[in-house]
Amino acid sequence: MQSFSYSKAQSVDQAAAAGGRFIGGGTTLVDLMKQGVETPKMLVDITGLPLSSVETQPDGGLLIGAMVRNSDLAHHETIKAQYAVLSQALLSGASPQLRNMATTGGNLLQRTRCPYFRDTSYSNCNKRNPGSGCAAIGGHNRMMAILGTSADCIATHPSDMAVAMTALEATVHVEGAKGKRAITIADFYKLPGTAPNVENALEPGELIAHVTLPAPRKGSKQVYLKLRDRASYEFALTSAAVVAETSGGHIRFVRVALGGVGTRPWRAHEAETVLMGKPATAAHFRAAAEAALKDAKPQSENGFKVELAKRCIVRALTTATA
C-alpha cells in the first residue's frame, strides 16, 4: 500500500517551504493516485490558504487566487461581464460537481487524459517513465494531439480554462524557494519535445499563488466554442477561444487559442497574423484556420481533428465578430 503524509498549509510561505505535493481540489491528483500514476509521499493541502479571492487591480486587470474554485470563477460577475471566454470555457469543462471542487491552480496543472499515461500496466510512457517510449503512438489515438507533438509524446493538454487564459494572455504568479516569479502563460507550458515529463516552467516545490489577466480589451467580443461527441462532460475534440475587436468591418485586434488539439494550450499566432487588419469575412476566417493548422500532424485515428479544428475556429471567429 502506498502511504503518504497529509498536512494542511497555514500560509503561503509554509506551503512553499513544505517540500510536499500540493493538493487543491484533488480531482486530478487523487484520481491519479488511485491509478498508481502519482505516488506522492507528502500531501500539502493548500485549500486553506488565503488565495481564494478575485480582485480588480489598479491597472484594470484581474487577480485570481489559485484557490478560487472553477465554479466560483465561472460565475463571478466580473468574469462573466469582462472575460466571458473564461467563464464559458470553465462551464464547458468537466461536470458541476468537479467544477465545485477544482481550483484555478489545479486546473492549470491537470494532467493529460492519454489512456496509456493513466494506466501503469504500460511501462512505455515517456511522460511517466522518461525514456521508456510512447504507447500512444500506434495505439488508440483518436483523442491525441495534432499540434506540438514530438516523436516522444503526442498527449493532448486537456484544460479548457487554460485555453481561454491563453487567449486572454494571462500571467501565472508563483512562489517558492527562489521567491516570487511571474511567468506568462505562453512561457508556462512546455512542448513535449524529448522531455514530455517536463510540462511547465514550475520548479520543484513552487506554488501557483495567482493568475492575473490584463485589463479587458474595450469593445472586444469573446467566444469559447468546444466541439465534442456528446453534449456535456467530455474533453474537447477541439475548442477555440477567441477575443476579437472589429471596427468598420475590419479586425483591429484578435487572439485565438485552441484546445483539444495541442500538446499544450495552443496559441494560434499564425491565424492572428492572417486576420489582423483584414475584413471580417468568411474567406479570411477560413484562411486563418488553414494557417493555424498548417503544421498539424495527425495520427492514424485523429485526422478528422484537422478539419474540425478549422471549422471550430471559423465558427468562433464568426460569432466573435458578428
Partner: protein, 757 residues
C-alpha cells in the same frame, strides 16, 4: 428532457379491478427505500467478519502464464490467501445446455494457465481490508508468454460455416430479378453494459452451506449454477438479491468472480466480498458483441418487398459460442415471400459476450431498418409508406397467427404525433433556427414471452397481504407490479402490502430478462392471491363467534380488506384480520404455479411479439459538424400496460440508451494487447442529461390475452429497438451521409456535402 406519456386505449379492459389499480400510473413502492439509501444492494451487506477479495487481471490478451509469483503479495499486511491456477481446488464446469443453470463463461476461473482475453482473472487476493487486498493484488508478479491477440474489428472475410436461422422461397433468384435492390453491410460495435451498480458478490460459507448476496438478474439460476460449479447440492446454496442497480442483461448469469468469492469463503470460512471495478466491467462481465450484417433487400418498383436476405456475423470469445441472434425480428416483421436469414460466429480474444438489452433484435433492427430506409430512398417512397405497404398479417416464417399485432397503428399514430406529413424528403431540405433538421423513423419489435412461476400470497392477522417469490426487481418496478395485483385482489392500500422478492428460499420465479417478468409473474401472483382469499373466505364462513359464520363461503367477497356478503356493501362486512384473530390464526396463504407459454396449448400455436415505431428528429449544424437528437416520438404496442408510469420510464430510458448506441457508445480495443482502452466512464461515452431529447411515449395498450388474463406483455427492451436506425436515417436525411457502422461519429458527419444551414 421534456416528455409526455399517453395511452389512448387505456380504459380497463380487464374489468376486474375494483379501484382501477391495474393500469394506473403509480409510483414505485420501493422508491422511498432507494431515495433514502435504505435499500440494500449486494455490496451493502456487511456481514460480521467479512474479508475482501480483489482479482488480478491479465495484462496480455492471448498467451499463457509463464510464472506467477505471489510471495510478495502473501507477506503483505492483512493478506489471508492468494488463489490462482496453481493452488485452487477444482471449480467444476456447469452442465452444458442445462437451461436451469446457465453460466456466462464456459471456462471456470483459474482452470489452467491459458489467457484468452485481456483482463482475464489470473489470481485472487483476499485480505482483511479492501485496501490491503488492492495493494497486494498489485504486488502479484505474473510473467506471460504472449501472442498478439485477435481483436480485429472486421469480421469479414469469413470462411467458416453459416447456419440458417429462417428460410422461405428462393431469395437469391428473387433478389437478382427485382426492380430495386439494396445490398449493404451494417456494423454495430462492442457495447459495454454499464449499470450503475457494479457486479458484486458477498459469499458466506458456513459449514456445508453458502449464501450469496448477489447482483444477479436471476437468483434461482444463480443458485443452480453455483451448486454445479461448487459441487454442492442445490439446497446448500442460497442466493439473495433484494435490489439490483440494474443489469441490462449483463447480470443474467454468473461470472467468474462469483465462484471465486465462494471458493475463497469456503477456504477461509469467512464471508468474502468481491466488487468488480468499473474497469473490470469492460473486460470480464460481458458486452454486446460486434456484429457485421449483410442485408440484401429488394422490392418491386411500387415498393412491395420481394426478397430479404440477412447474413449476420457476431464475434464471440475463444471459448464460448455466444450467438447474438441478429435475425430475431427479421423473419416476421414484414411480408416478403422470399427470405433467408443466416448467422455465424467469429472468435476473438475477448471475454464472453452477454445478452444486452434487446439482444439480437436491437443490432438486427439497426441493420434491417437502415436497409429499409435505403430501399425507401432508392424507391423514392416515403419510409412510413414502405413499412405500411409491407405490413404482415400473419407470421410468414411459420404461418402462425399473431396473438396481437398493431404495428400499423404504431406507425400511423407515431406519424401523426410527430407531424411526419410535414417532412420533405430531400437531403438537408428542412431547416429551423439556423440548423438543418433530419427526420427519420424505424419500426421496432421484440418477442413476448411467459415462463413458469410460483408465488405464495399470505393474508396475515396483522392486516397485511404479503407476496413471496424468488424472482428479483432489477430496478424496473416489479415489486410494484406484485403490489398492484395484491391491491386489486384484496382491496388493500399499498401501506398494507408487502412484497418479498429476491431470495431462493421463496417459491421459484423467473429470471429477469427478455422483458418477460411482468407477463410471467402476473398469473402466479393473481392465482396465489385468489387461493389465499378462498381459504380466508372459508374460514370466515366457519369461525364460530364471527358475524359471517355459517354463511355460504361462495357468497362471500373480500373488498377493501373487508369480508362481506356479495349482496352487501363492504362497509357492512368485517375486517379480514379480525376473522383471522378470532380463528386464532397467524394468517392464511395460497400458492400458485403458472406455466410457460411455450407449453401452453393456447399460446404454442401463436406468434407473440411486441411492436413499436420510433420517430426521430436530429438537429445538425453543418458548419461545426454538431449533431444532436432533439425529439423522439415512440409508440409502443406491448399489450396492456400495468403501470404506465414505470412503463414510460422504461421506454424513455431505452430511448436515451438508443441515443448512446447511435451516437456515442463503443468499446475500443488496443490492437496490440486487446485491452478495452476506454474502459472507464469518462472515456466510454454514454448519453448525459444534455444529450437527452424530448421524448413522447405512447402506449397503444391493446391487451394480449393470449399471454395472460391481464393482457400484459413486457416493455423492458422494445423501447431500444429501432432507435438507432431511426437516428441513422434522420442523420442521412439531414446530412446525406449514410452511416452503416455505429456509432455515428463526427468523422462521418464531416463527409457531408452540406456545409451550411
Amino acid at each position: 428532457m421534456a416528455s409526455t406519456t399517453s395511452s389512448p386505449n387505456g380504459t380497463s379492459p380487464n374489468g376486474t379491478s375494483p379501484h382501477g389499480i391495474i393500469g394506473r400510473p403509480v409510483s414505485r413502492i420501493d422508491g422511498p427505500l432507494k431515495t433514502t439509501g435504505a435499500a440494500q444492494y449486494a455490496a451493502d451487506f456487511h456481514l460480521t467478519g467479512t474479508v475482501h477479495a480483489v482479482p488480478v487481471q491479465a495484462t496480455v490478451g492471448n498467451g499463457t502464464i509463464r510464472s506467477l509469483d505471489v510471495s510478495a503479495a502473501r507477506s503483505m499486511p492483512g493478506v489471508l490467501d492468494v488463489l490462482h491456477h496453481g493452488n485452487i481446488e477444482r471449480i467444476y464446469r456447469a452442465v452444458p445446455n442445462d437451461p436451469s443453470a446457465t453460466v456466462s463463461e464456459t471456462r471456470p476461473p483459474f482452470e489452467d494457465n491459458r489467457i484468452y482475453y485481456w483482463g482475464q482473472y489470473v489470481a485472487l487476493v483476499v485480505a482483511e481490508t479492501l485496501e490491503q487486498a488492492t495493494a497486494a493484488a498489485a504486488a502479484v508478479q505474473v510473467e506471460y508468454s504472449a501472442e498478439t491477440p485477435s481483436v480485429n474489428g472486421e469480421l469479414e472475410p469469413f470462411a467458416g460455416k453459416w447456419h440458417t436461422v429462417s428460410s422461405r422461397g428462393k431469395v437469391d433468384d428473387a433478389f437478382a430479378a427485382a426492380a430495386v435492390q439494396v445490398d449493404q453491410t451494417y456494423v454495430t460495435p462492442v457495447e459495454t453494459h454499464n449499470p450503475i451498480e457494479l457486479h458484486s458478490t458477498v459469499a458466506s460459507w458456513v459449514g456445508d452451506s453458502v449464501t450469496f448476496y448477489e447482483s444477479t438478474q436471476g437468483v434461482v439460476n444463480h443458485r443452480n449454477a453455483m451448486a454445479q460449479i461448487l459441487g454442492v447440492p442445490r439446497e446448500n446454496v442460497t442466493v439473495v438479491t433484494r435490489f439490483l442497480g440494474s443489469g441490462f442483461g449483463g447480470k443474467l448469469f454468473p461470472w467468474s468472480h462469483c465462484a471465486l468469492a465462494a471458493v475463497a469463503s469456503r477456504r477461509l470460512q469467512r464471508p468474502v466480498k468481491l466488487v468488480v471495478t468499473r474497469t473490470m466491467m469492460f473486460s470480464n462481465v460481458g458486452h454486446r458483441p460486434l456484429t457485421e450484417q449483410r442485408f440484401r433487400i429488394a422490392a418491386s418498383a411500387d415498393g412491395k418487398l420481394v426478397a430479404l436476405r440477412q447474413d449476420a456475423l457476431n464475434h464471440t470469445s475463444m471459448v464460448d459460442d455466444f450467438d447474438e441472434g441478429c435475425g430475431e425480428a427479421t423473419p416476421y416483421l414484414y411480408s416478403v415471400p422470399n427470405l433467408t436469414v443466416t448467422s455465424a460466429l467469429v472468435q476473438r480474444n475477448v471475454g464472453s459476450p452477454a445478452p444486452m438489452r434487446g439482444p439480437g433484435a436491437v443490432p438486427g433492427l439497426f441493420a434491417m431498418e437502415s436497409a429499409m430506409d435505403e430501399l425507401a430512398v432508392a424507391l423514392k417512397m416515403d419510409p412510413v409508406e414502405l413499412r405500411l405497404k409491407n405490413d404482415a398479417t400473419i407470421d410468414e416464417s411459420n404461418g402462425q397467427k399473431f396473438s396481437s399485432r398493431h404495428l400499423r397503428e404504431c406507425l400511423e399514430t407515431g406519424s401523426a404525433k410527430f407531424g411526419w406529413s410535414r417532412r420533405t424528403p430531400g437531403v438537408g431540405s428542412m431547416r429551423r433556427d439556423g440548423k438543418v433538421l433530419g427526420w427519420g423513423m424505424a419500426a421496432a419489435s421484440w418477442g413476448a414471452y411467459r415462463f413458469g412461476c410460483s408465488t405464495t400470497v399470505e393474508l396475515g392477522a396483522d392486516g397485511k397481504a404479503r407476496a413471496r417469490c424468488a424472482t428479483q426487481d432489477v430496478g424496473t418496478g416489479l415489486y410494484t407490479i406484485f403490489a398492484q395485483v395484491l391491491s386489486e385482489k384484496t382491496g388493500l392500500p399499498f401501506e398494507r402490502i408487502e412484497v418479498l422478492l429476491g431470495d431462493t428460499t421463496m417459491p421459484e420465479g423467473p429470471l429477469s430478462g427478455g422483458s418477460w417478468s411482468t407477463a410471467t409473474v402476473l398469473p402466479a401472483v393473481a392465482g396465489a392471491a385468489d387461493n389465499a382469499i378462498a381459504s380466508l373466505l372459508q374460514i370466515a364462513a366457519s369461525t364460530p363467534g364471527t358475524p359471517l359464520n355459517g354463511v355460504d363461503a361462495k357468497t362471500l367477497r373480500l373488498t377493501e380488506g373487508r369480508i362481506h356478503r356479495s349482496t352487501d356493501a363492504p362497509a357492512q362486512g368485517v375486517p379480514f384480520e379480525s376473522v383471522l384473530a378470532a380463528a386464532r390464526l397467524n394468517g392464511v396463504s395460497g400458492d400458485s404455479t403458472s406455466g410457460s407459454a411455450f407449453e401452453d396449448p393456447k399460446t404454442k400455436a401463436l406468434s407473440m411479439h411486441s411492436f413499436g415505431a420510433q420517430f426521430v428528429e436530429v438537429e445538425w449544424e453543418p458548419e461545426i459538424a454538431r449533431l444532436r437528437v432533439s425529439r423522439v416520438v415512440t409508440v409502443i404496442d406491448a399489450g396492456r400496460i400495468i403501470n404506465p408510469r414505470a412503463g414510460a420510464n422504461q421506454i424513455k430510458g431505452a430511448v436515451v440508451m438508443g441515443v448512446g448506441m447511435a451516437l456515442l457508445e463503443e468499446t475500443v480495443y488496443d490492437p496490440r494487447n486487446g485491452q478495452p482502452i476506454n474502459g472507464n466512464l469518462a472515456d466510454y461515452l454514454m448519453a448525459t442529461s444534455p444529450d437527452c431529447p424530448e421524448i413522447d411515449v405512447t402506449f397503444l395498450d391493446y391487451p394480449d390475452y393470449a399471454l395472460n388474463s391481464y393482457g400484459a406483455r413486457g416493455i423492458g427492451e422494445i423501447g431500444l429497438a429501432g432507435v438507432a436506425p431511426a437516428i441513422a436515417s434522420a442523420v442521412y436525411h439531414a446530412t446525406g451521409v449514410r452511416v452503416r457502422k455505429l456509432p455515428v461519429r463526427i468523422e462521418d458527419l464531416l463527409q457531408s456535402e452540406i456545409r451550411e444551414a
